[in-house]
């Protein structure tokens, strides 16, 4: 609902702009049209990719392997889970809480959260703006960068647990 509210607010701004500065408003509309033209083809590819991913990946299957496995295997599974997970982050919190209570490590949960930045079905859009090379470097850096975040979170939470167990 709030999505439509956002769009309605933007349209209201256009309404006001057309009343106050009609030349600027039509210029803004022209620029927006141009941006749409640029992204329309990548957007169609995004939709096709979404269908393909939805056909072969079941998001809730991720629950089966997130937080499982130790060492490299656990990391790879969490990275993969983050990359193929879809939907707003809010939908994932109850599941993550549940998994954590069942013993999934903070290290792997943090890795999962940070790898949500890699979105395979949005590749057409980001590539159309920034090119293959950039996207490749950024993706590798994002995946590798999730490891120090995982270590830091794990160390910080462990430190707190250790401290409280001494009190």
């Amino acid at each position: 609902m709030w999505m439509l509210l956002f769009l309605a607010s933007v349209l209201a701004i256009y309404g006001i702009l057309f009343a106050v500065m009609p030349d600027k408003a039509s210029m803004a509309l022209r620029i927006s049209g141009h941006v749409f033209l640029n992204i329309i083809v990548p957007l169609c590819v995004v939709f096709i990719l979404m269908v393909v991913l939805n056909l072969f990946l079941k998001p809730a299957h991720i629950a089966r392997f997130l937080g499982k496995g130790a060492g490299i295997k656990g990391i790879v599974l969490s990275v993969a889970a983050g990359i193929i997970s879809t939907g707003p982050i809010y939908a994932w919190y109850p599941l993550l809480k549940e998994l954590r209570e069942k013993g999934a490590g903070d290290f792997l949960i943090a890795i999962f959260l940070n790898n949500r930045a890699v979105k395979p079905f949005l590749l057409p859009i980001i590539i159309s703006y920034f090119g293959w090379t950039y996207v490749l470097i950024l993706t590798v850096c994002t995946i590798l960068g999730s490891l120090p975040v995982g270590y830091a979170v794990d160390a910080a939470v462990k430190e707190k647990t250790d401290l409280s167990s001494h009190i």
Binding site: V10, A28, G33, V46, L55, N114
Partner: protein, 272 residues
């Protein structure tokens, strides 16, 4: 149909932790999930974390069933959302049941439930039929995802139009001065405050780039958009703990800056 061949793991929503317990009326709110091996009748009773009736209870029972690798769920009733999630994970769902856990399992094994009022469908249906069902489901999910993404994207693109028509390049360059460190920091700050589907960050970033903002700043924005979230920080703290959320967001913020600088430096080196 499903009763032949290998043993199945059947989850029954129940009011008690054994085979004599009554089948729960509502899947999400039942006290236990009793998981029965269809061949040996060995069972495991798992308390339903969602039995309290608080918000999001249905999904907790769904997660429980999925994580227990069950093949079939038998229950009194279930929300369409929970049924959809379970079916999407290859779990057969049969509703409208009453009696004891042992009774419904026996009926299921005889195939009575499937004949009378079995509501769920078996995802392992054969050949072209399953492909068609899966494709329709995938199309519907994608259309749903797309419908959620589109209104915001349209709004963002329309705002970009206003921004470009009204805000001068001079104003933008007074904020993004060309100083790599400051620009990257501003980009990461902007990405941390705003949240939502990353597609918007790509479009905004791409357009800012055309406006003369450096790739360092745009990259930091794109990374921080997903990895740092001030808006969802309270929700993350509630789910995973205060310390977890604060440390993860703080380290991700610093890392967004580091990764942005590293990415652009490597890109410049590679494309030189």
């Amino acid at each position: 149909m499903s009763t032949q061949g290998a043993a199945l793991r059947i989850a029954i929503s129940a009011e008690g932790p054994d085979l004599q317990a009554k089948v729960g009326d509502r899947f999400g709110l039942s006290q236990y999930l009793v998981i029965v091996d269809s061949e040996t009748m060995a069972f495991e009773a798992v308390p339903n974390p969602g039995a309290s009736g608080q918000r999001g209870t249905g999904i907790q029972a769904v997660v429980l069933a999925i994580s227990k690798n069950v093949n079939t769920v038998l229950t009194g009733s279930m929300s369409p959302t929970a049924k959809r999630h379970l079916s999407a994970n290859g779990i057969e769902v049969l509703t409208g049941l009453c009696g004891t856990v042992a009774e419904v399992v026996e009926k299921y094994k005889k195939g009575d439930l499937q004949k009378h009022g079995g509501v769920g469908r078996k995802p392992e249906a054969r050949g072209a039929e399953i492909d068609k069902v899966a494709l329709v489901h995938a199309l519907r999910s994608s259309a749903n995802q797309f419908a959620h993404l589109l209104p915001i994207l349209v709004g963002v693109v329309l705002l970009i139009g206003i921004f470009k028509a009204i805000v001068s390049k001079d104003l933008v360059s007074s904020i993004f001065s060309g100083n790599t460190a400051w620009d990257t920091l501003w980009g990461a700050c902007f990405g941390s405050i705003v949240a939502g589907n990353p597609i918007n960050s790509y479009v905004i970033g791409g357009e800012l780039l055309e406006y003369g903002v450096s790739l360092f700043a745009v990259t930091a924005l794109i990374i921080a958009w997903v990895t740092v979230g001030l808006v969802q920080l309270p929700a993350e703290m509630a789910a995973l703990g205060r310390r977890f959320a604060l440390v993860r967001n703080a380290v991700s913020f610093a890392l967004a800056i580091a990764i942005a600088i590293f990415t652009v430096v490597v890109l410049n080196f590679v494309t030189r």
